[in-house]
């Protein structure tokens, strides 16, 4: 498979001017277009209908498509995700919204024991074309129970795919791709990104759903990030650049599968990599990337791949402590400087 760097990806590489849109609007357009195109697409979740979605993502769709295609559910996460699985088995293309990822813990049986396994257990007979969207991440003082990241749990499940769009354009592309795909796909959205702006062109040709994107080119260190950490990595890169350190920033876009070829290409140039993740460090996606790069790219690496991750604590309520519990721009700059100090050439 050949894959070219796609210049239409995201904010940085945009080749032509496009109107600016917020992430929630891009998701909304993706849903609307998918529902217009295919009558088997329908939405299911808490307050997705009349209310319009907790983050406005389904706004207007209830009025346009009616209650059978935009279904407000009771607070029964495991069962309404299971209903999505059942409807997918019978021929539907449900898009289930779990209000936030924290509540997905109540639906893990439907996600992991059913959606992910039914095709395999049936010898390939059953098909589960299901999309599960959920906002997550550390937002603003929501407390430990409303600040979870579950990447580490979901990427470990054969049968699932996990995408993590961070821009309006990627949100549109990846949700659209997930809806037409025939497998269960988890679309993780970040609560602090819904109302961020970026260029948007619904007609631009999408890269592969799992393709990572180079957001900024650099020769000295590769920063691998996703979701909100991408924008922090970009800020850090801009500041470091003024001091002569050129950082390459990669937005992973997909956590299962991951775009290893692009990561290898990048580290073969920079010879150093730091993974920046908002999820906890132990057994996380960063560990997977560091270990894999260590295995396959070690001749290119001048130092072991490092990880910057959340502290090993439940997320505190206090604003200062909360900020301190996840990587910030300063931490990224510091980590890069430490590495840069290792440069001998």
């Amino acid at each position: 498979m050949t894959r070219q760097r796609n210049d239409n990806v995201g904010i940085i590489g945009t080749a032509r001017p496009a109107p600016e849109l917020e992430v929630w609007q891009a998701l909304n357009i993706a849903l609307d277009r998918a529902m217009e195109r295919d009558s088997s697409v329908f939405i299911l979740g808490e307050d997705v209908g009349l209310f319009g979605g907790s983050y406005r993502v389904t706004q207007g769709l209830y009025a346009k498509y009616g209650e059978w295609r935009v279904r407000d559910t009771p607070i029964s996460e495991n069962s309404f995700v299971g209903i999505g699985v059942g409807a997918a088995l019978a021929g539907g293309r449900p898009v289930v919204e779990i209000m936030t990822i924290n509540f997905a813990l109540l639906a893990l049986d439907s996600i992991i024991n059913m959606a992910a396994k039914l095709r395999y257990m049936s010898g390939g007979q059953l098909q589960v074309p299901l999309v599960i969207r959920m906002p997550g991440g550390v937002a603003k003082q929501l407390g430990a129970q409303h600040s979870q990241r579950l990447e580490h749990t979901l990427v470990n499940v054969p049968g699932l795919r996990v995408v993590v769009p961070a821009t309006p354009q990627d949100s549109y592309w990846q949700l659209s791709q997930a809806i037409v795909a025939d497998d269960p796909i988890i679309v993780l959205e970040h609560e602090l990104l819904y109302f961020t702006k970026g260029p948007f062109d619904p007609d631009a040709p999408p890269p592969a759903m799992h393709a990572a994107a180079v957001r900024r080119e650099g020769r000295d260190v590769t920063l691998v990030a996703w979701h909100r950490m991408v924008s922090l990595a970009m800020e850090a890169a801009a500041q470091l650049s003024t001091r002569g350190i050129e950082v390459e920033v990669i937005d992973l876009r997909s956590l299962r599968p991951i775009d290893l070829p692009l990561l290898r290409e990048s580290v073969s140039k920079t010879r150093h990599a730091i993974v920046v993740e908002e999820d906890c460090r132990f057994g996380g996606v960063g560990a997977e990337i560091a270990a894999t790069l260590g295995e396959v790219a070690h001749p290119d690496l001048a130092s072991p791949v490092r990880r910057l991750a959340a502290s090993d604590v439940p997320t505190p309520y206090n604003a200062e402590l909360e900020r301190a519990s996840i990587p910030g721009t300063k931490n990224i700059i510091q980590a890069v400087e430490e590495l840069a100090g290792l440069h001998t050439d």
């Binding site: 498979m1 894959r3 329908f42 059978w68 295609r69 279904r71 559910t73 009771p74 029964s76 495991n78 069962s79 309404f80 995700v81 299971g82 209903i83 999505g84 699985v85 059942g86 409807a87 997918a88 088995l89 019978a90 021929g91 539907g92 449900p94 049986d109 439907s110 024991n113 059913m114 039914l118 095709r119 395999y120 257990m121 049936s122 010898g123 390939g124 007979q125 059953l126 098909q127 054969p158 049968g159 795919r161 795909a181 025939d182 497998d183 799992h210 393709a211 990572a212 299962r256 599968p257 991951i258 775009d259 290893l260 070829p261 692009l262 894999t292």
Partner: protein, 325 residues
């Protein structure tokens, strides 16, 4: 009652009994692995109820589902081959006893986590209702499953949206070793339905004719757009919960009492008495079943093993590391 249907009941219940006996033997010989949950004693439930549905309907069942699959048209050979883990099994050898599927017949499993059948059935029902279909879904579950959250969550949604789902409880009085009075504050499972505004009724699950008639009426109710319905079939399993369970928590007296109300014997006597069947019919059916079961075992034993470890995880092969070495 029609002679044809009576013959079918007798044949299917005999098949159910003999097939499970053969499965137990094959398990003891080491040809079947894992967990094996058998159905003797409960035959009237699957046989009576499934024959009240239409072939276009959907069936969702539990891990104790060999008989449901066969009555719904999956061949005994394909079921036995699945128990043997062979490529010719109805799930290609990837599912096993607890995960039987046949999409062409809308037989959707086979769920081994107690309480999963509810939401799957409601999801299929949602899709049917969205498409104004006249098909319905039959959803089987045990008495123990009625304490799972998904039971209550799903009854609520099924009633709220009038989903075409017929919930059929196989109340065999036990959740493994815990008797129903020790696991349910309200042991009449059908009464739970009323909390969600769903009609429900109790039926003698040892009487195949009674199960059939109750299910026919319920199917009619559901198919006519009145929303879900719940039937509780009171029944009993003769064997332990699974092959791993000797069933020491039950008294010999309890078992003997229930065996005296054997669903096969009850039906046979009644059918002979009513002239629905004669001795020759019964003997012929038993002989045919013995041949079919022997053939199923032979077929399974001679079938090839599946070899493709990665088949069917995704709709197309997925490289976790993005496609290029």
């Amino acid at each position: 009652m029609q002679r044809k249907l009576a013959r079918q009941f007798f044949y299917d219940m005999t098949l159910a009994r003999q097939f499970e006996q053969a499965a137990a033997e094959q398990y003891m010989q080491g040809n079947i692995g894992g967990f094996l949950h058998l159905y003797p004693g409960e035959e009237a439930v699957a046989v009576g109820s499934l024959h009240a549905a239409e072939p276009g309907d959907y069936v969702v069942s539990t891990y104790r589902e060999h008989v449901h699959a066969m009555v719904w048209g999956v061949s005994p050979s394909a079921v036995m081959a699945e128990l043997f883990g062979r490529a010719t099994g109805c799930s290609g050898g990837y599912g096993g006893s607890m995960h039987l599927y046949d999409v062409s017949r809308r037989f959707l499993g086979g769920y081994a986590i107690v309480g999963e059948t509810f939401a799957i059935a409601a999801g299929v029902g949602y899709w049917l209702r969205l498409n104004d279909s006249t098909q319905i879904v039959l959803c089987y579950f045990g008495d123990g499953a009625a304490n799972q959250g998904t039971f209550h969550e799903t009854l609520n949604m099924a009633a709220l949206w009038k989903l075409p789902v017929l919930f059929i409880c196989e109340n065999n009085h036990y959740q493994i070793g815990t008797e129903i009075h020790r696991h349910s504050a309200v042991p009449d499972i059908y009464r739970h339905a009323s909390a969600y505004g769903i009609d429900g009724r109790h039926v003698d699950g040892m009487d195949v004719v009674a199960v059939h008639e109750a299910t026919r009426a319920a199917v009619q109710h559901v198919r006519s757009g009145n929303g879900p319905y719940l039937i509780e079939c009171e029944t009993y399993r003769y064997r332990g919960h699974s092959m791993a369970d000797p069933g020491a928590y039950r008294s010999a007296l309890e078992l003997a009492e229930l065996r005296a109300r054997d669903p096969l014997e009850i039906f046979r006597e009644r059918a002979l008495g009513q002239g629905w069947l004669n001795e020759t019919d019964c003997q012929e059916a038993e002989k045919t079943v013995a041949e079919v079961v022997a053939e199923a075992v032979r077929f399974a034993a001679e079938s090839p093993q599946p070899t493709d470890l990665g088949k069917g995880v995704y709709s197309e092969p997925l490289d976790l590391y993005g496609g290029r070495p």
